[in-house]
C-alpha cells in the first residue's frame, strides 16, 4: 500500500477529514485562514438603551505601531463620534478621518436601529441597496441593480477599504451586545464566518450587565452585518410595532438572492449533533488506525518469521533445500514470492517452460537469441493459468485448444501484444491465486470505498465547516480506493505466506546455481523442473527474459 500513490492520497484524505471535523466541531475553536496584513482584530460592542438607542464601540487593533490614516465612514444617524476617546467632527455626519496607530477605538451612538415587536426586539445593523430598497430605488431609479447588503449600514464598514495599509485576509472579530435579557438573544451575521455566541450575565449578575458575547472570522476583512433578536422588555421605552420579530428578520433576509448575503446563526457553544458526528468520525478513524497498526505489526512479525525461516532453510548459508518444497505451480510460487527473489523473474516464462517440459509445446533453436516455440493443435494445460498462457500464445489469444498448430519465434516472443498479454495473464494469475487461497483481496483497501463514503456522509450531515472536504471524501475517495485496489488489491493469506517463506528459501538455493542462471529456454529438457521454478523465482534470468511478455525485464 505504501508504494501506491492512490492509497496514500486516500489515506491522507480520510485522516484529514476527522481531524478537520473535530477541529470544526470544537465550539470554542474558531480558526482564521491567512490573516489580513496590518489588522490584528476587531472588537465590536454595543449597549442597548431603554429607548432603543445603541452605544457602539469598535476597537481596531493593528499589528504595528505605524501611524496610518483612517477614513471613518459612519452609518447614517451616528452621533457623538469619538476616536480614541476624543470627540471628532464628521462631514455631514458620516465621513471623518483620523490618524491612528496600534489601536483605534471608534465610539458613537446610533438611534433608530432597534424595532420592538410583541415577541422581541430586532437590532438591525444591516441595510440593503438595490432595486429592492425603496430609498435606493427612489434615488437612482430602476437601474436593475439586485439587492445587496449595504456595508455603510453594517456593524462596521469594510476595514480593508477604509483603513490605510490593510491587506486582504481574515480578521478575527469578537464582541458583545449588552441588553437586559441578552442571554436569550439570537444573533445572525452576514459576512462573518464561524460565528459563535455565548450568554454572559456579567460579574455583578445584574440585568444591566447582561450580555451576549460573540466571535467569528471576517473573511476578506469586509463589512459585517448583524441582525439580533433581543427580548422586547429590553427596550420598554420604544413604541411597539405590528408583527413579530421573527417575521421582521425573515422578511429582511428573504429579500436577498445573493448567497453571499446569507445570514448565519451564531451557533451555541455546545452543538450536540456536531459532537455526535465528531465522535462517529473519531471512532471511524480510530478503527482504521488500529487496523493499520495491527496489520503493520502482523506484517513485521511475519517478515521476521520469514527471515528466520529463510535462515533455517539455508539462506544465505549453504543449508538450503536442494529440492523444491512442494509441487506448487511455478506461476503461483512466483506470485507468492514476488520480489523477494532477485534477478529477473517471469511466471509466464516459467509456465511456458513447464509446458515444454511436459512436451505440451516445444522449444527449439540453438540459443536464447533465436528460438522457435511450437504449440501443437489441440494443446491444453492442466491448470487454469497454463491454459490462459497457451491461449495467449494462439494468434487471437483465444481458445488454447485451437485445431491448428501455432509457431512463434523469439525473442521477442510476444511483439506488440505484450502489454495486453501481461494484463490478461495478470488477472488470470490473481484469479488462480484467489482460487487456491494463496492471496485474498486487500481488505482495508476493499473497505476504503464504503468507509470513504460513510465518513463523508457523516461529516456532511453532522459537522459544520468540512463540507468541501467531505464531498472530496465522498466523490474522490471511492475513485482513489478503486485505483488503489486495482494496483495493489491482493495480499497473501496465511497459506500464501507459508508458501512464500518456503519458496523464498528454495529460490535462494536456485540463485546459487550458475547453470540455471545462464540457461536458455531450450535447456528445459536437460535441467527440468528446477529451471521452471528458477524462471518464476528470478534464478533463471536468461530464460525468463527470452519468454517473458515484458522481454527485457528490469527488476
Amino acid at each position: 500500500m505504501l508504494t501506491n500513490p492512490a492509497a496514500i492520497l486516500l489515506a491522507v484524505i480520510l485522516v484529514l477529514l476527522p481531524l478537520r471535523a473535530c477541529a470544526a466541531n470544537r465550539p470554542e475553536t474558531i480558526r482564521t485562514g491567512k490573516p489580513a496584513e496590518g489588522l490584528d482584530s476587531i472588537t465590536w460592542t454595543a449597549a442597548v438603551a431603554n429607548d432603543g438607542r445603541l452605544a457602539i464601540r469598535i476597537d481596531y487593533t493593528f499589528t504595528d505601531d505605524e501611524p496610518r490614516n483612517m477614513d471613518i465612514r459612519l452609518p447614517k444617524g451616528a452621533r457623538y463620534l469619538a476616536v480614541n476617546g476624543k470627540p471628532t467632527p464628521a462631514d455631514t455626519g458620516v465621513y471623518a478621518t483620523a490618524t491612528v496607530s496600534r489601536l483605534a477605538t471608534i465610539t458613537y451612538e446610533l438611534p433608530g436601529r432597534v424595532a420592538r415587536y410583541s415577541d422581541g426586539a430586532v437590532v438591525q445593523l444591516a441595510g440593503a441597496y438595490g432595486d429592492g430598497d425603496l430609498e435606493f430605488a427612489a434615488q437612482v431609479g430602476s437601474a436593475g441593480i439586485p439587492l445587496r447588503l449595504d456595508g455603510d449600514q453594517a456593524m462596521f464598514v469594510c476595514p480593508r477599504c477604509y483603513l490605510e495599509n490593510i491587506g486582504y485576509g481574515d480578521t478575527p472579530v469578537s464582541g458583545a451586545i449588552y441588553a437586559p435579557g441578552a442571554a436569550q438573544a439570537e444573533l445572525l451575521f452576514a459576512g462573518l464566518e464561524q460565528p459563535r455566541s455565548q450568554a454572559s450575565t456579567g460579574a455583578s449578575g445584574q440585568a444591566s450587565s447582561e450580555a451576549i458575547l460573540f466571535a467569528g472570522v471576517d473573511p476578506g476583512t469586509d463589512a459585517v452585518s448583524m441582525l439580533a433578536v433581543i427580548p422586547a422588555s429590553a427596550v420598554p421605552d420604544l413604541a411597539r410595532r405590528d408583527g413579530s420579530a421573527d417575521d421582521a428578520v425573515m422578511n429582511f433576509r428573504d429579500r436577498f438572492d445573493d448567497p453571499n448575503d446569507v445570514f448565519r446563526n451564531a451557533s451555541p457553544p455546545a452543538g450536540k449533533p456536531s459532537s455526535t458526528a465528531a465522535v462517529l468520525l473519531f471512532l471511524l478513524v480510530a478503527g482504521l488506525g488500529l487496523a493499520f497498526v495491527l496489520g503493520w505489526v502482523w506484517n513485521v512479525g511475519t517478515e521476521r518469521s520469514a527471515r528466520r525461516a529463510a535462515d533455517l532453510a539455508g539462506v544465505p548459508g549453504d543449508r538450503g533445500p536442494a529440492i523444491s518444497p512442494g509441487n506448487l505451480e511455478a506461476a503461483l510460487a512466483g506470485l507468492v514470492v514476488g520480489d523477494r527473489g532477485s534477478g529477473r523473474a517471469s511466471v509466464i516464462a516459467a509456465t511456458i517452460l513447464e509446458l515444454a517440459r511436459r512436451e505440451i509445446l516445444t522449444i527449439s533453436g540453438s540459443d536464447e537469441r533465436r528460438f522457435t516455440l511450437t504449440v501443437p493443435a489441440g494443446a491444453t494445460g492442466e491448470t487454469t493459468f497454463e491454459n490462459a498462457v497457451i491461449a495467449q500464445l494462439r494468434p487471437l489469444g483465444t481458445a488454447p485448444d485451437a485445431p491448428v498448430e501455432t509457431v512463434l519465434t523469439g525473442p521477442p516472443l510476444w511483439h506488440t501484444r505484450a502489454p495486453a498479454v501481461t494484463r490478461s495473464l495478470e488477472k488470470a494469475l490473481i484469479r488462480e491465486g484467489l482460487k487456491q487461497r494463496l492471496v485474498h483481496l486487500n481488505r482495508p483497501l476493499a473497505l476504503a470505498a464504503p468507509v470513504s463514503i460513510a465518513m463523508g456522509v457523516v461529516a456532511l450531515i453532522g459537522v459544520d465547516g468540512v463540507t468541501i472536504h467531505a464531498w472530496i471524501a465522498i466523490i474522490i475517495g471511492p475513485l482513489l480506493a478503486a485505483l488503489a485496489l486495482k494496483r495493489s488489491g491482493v495480499s497473501l493469506t496465511a497459506a500464501g505466506k507459508r508458501h512464500r517463506d518456503e519458496w523464498s528459501a528454495y529460490a535462494a538455493v536456485l540463485h546459487r546455481d550458475p547453470e540455471l542462471a545462464n540457461a536458455a529456454p531450450m535447456s528445459i529438457h536437460e535441467l527440468g523442473k528446477p529451471l521452471v521454478y528458477a524462471a518464476a523465482l528470478g534464478a533463471a534470468p536468461v530464460a525468463a527474459e527470452a519468454l517473458s511478455s515484458t522481454h527485457a525485464v528490469e527488476r
Binding site: L16, R31, G33, P87, T88, A90, Y178, A211, L213
Partner: protein, 232 residues
C-alpha cells in the same frame, strides 16, 4: 514486473518519502499546526467593556462633543456676521400662534440675528407653502414694534414636524453656549428642517461663522444635546 506487485514491499526511500509527505500534509492540514491561521476565542466579559451613553450636560457649553470643534486663528478678530438670537423663538412662536388659523406643524424654522422665519403649509394643506417672518423692529423705528408678516402661498413639498415637539428655550441656550465656548465665533443661523438634518432625524442645524466666514456646522437634538460637529 506485474506478477510481483501484490506482495511488493516499499523501499527505504519510499518509506522515508511517505513519512515525510504524511508529516508535511498532516502538519499543513491539521488544524492548529503549521498554518498561518489563528484561533479565535469568544471574548470574556472583561474584554468587551460596556459602552456608555452620553448624557446632556446642565450647561450646554459643557457639551463633550464641542471638543471636536476647533476654533480657527482669526488674529483676534470678531466674526463678521451677527449671531443668531435664539432667544427670539418664544416671542416669535407667540406671534405665530396669534395669526388666524395658526399652524400646528412647520416645514422649516430659521432663526437669525433679528428675525425668525417659519415655513408651513397654509391651512395644513400639503403643497400650499407659506412663509411667515417675525422681525425685530429697526433701531430707527420709533415704536420699536416687531413686525410679523405672512407671505402668499406658493407650491412646496416639504416634510413637516410638530411645533409641539419644540422646546422654545433650546435655541437660546445653544446660542449662549456657543458664544460662551467660542467668543470669536457666531451662530449665524439656527435652522430646524428635516432636509438640513442629514440623517440625524430632526435636529437643530447651527452654522458657525468666524472672521473668515462659515467654518462649522453644529447639530443638536431638540433637547439641545450637541450630537455632531461638521467642521470644514
Amino acid at each position: 514486473m506485474w506478477q510481483n506487485q501484490p506482495v511488493k514491499r516499499p523501499t527505504r526511500t519510499l518509506r522515508v518519502t511517505f513519512t515525510a509527505l504524511a508529516a508535511l500534509i498532516t502538519t499543513l492540514g491539521a488544524p492548529g499546526c503549521g498554518t498561518d491561521g489563528r484561533i479565535v476565542a469568544l471574548p470574556s466579559i472583561d474584554q468587551v467593556p460596556k459602552p456608555t451613553f452620553i448624557t446632556r450636560p446642565q450647561d450646554l457649553a459643557d457639551s463633550p462633543q464641542l471638543a471636536a470643534l476647533v476654533a480657527r486663528d482669526t488674529a483676534g478678530l470678531p466674526p463678521t456676521s451677527e449671531p443668531a438670537k435664539g432667544s427670539l423663538l418664544p416671542e416669535a412662536l407667540a406671534a405665530l400662534a396669534a395669526i388666524d388659523s395658526p399652524p400646528t406643524r412647520l416645514t422649516r424654522l430659521s432663526i437669525y440675528a433679528d428675525s425668525v422665519y417659519f415655513n408651513f403649509n397654509e391651512g395644513g394643506v400639503a403643497g400650499r407653502s407659506v412663509s411667515a417672518v417675525y422681525r425685530l423692529a429697526y433701531e430707527s423705528d420709533p415704536d420699536q414694534t416687531p413686525d410679523f408678516s405672512v407671505s402668499d402661498p406658493t407650491f412646496g413639498d416639504y416634510a413637516e414636524f410638530s411645533i409641539a415637539s419644540l422646546d422654545p428655550m433650546v435655541p437660546g441656550e445653544l446660542a449662549a453656549a456657543l458664544a460662551d465656548r467660542y467668543p470669536l465665533a457666531a451662530a449665524r443661523s439656527i435652522d430646524l428642517d428635516l432636509g438640513l438634518s442629514y440623517g440625524f432625524g430632526l435636529v437643530w442645524n447651527i452654522s458657525l461663522d468666524d472672521a473668515s466666514g462659515t467654518f462649522a456646522t453644529v447639530y443638536a437634538d431638540l433637547d439641545g444635546s450637541i450630537i455632531a460637529i461638521d467642521q470644514r
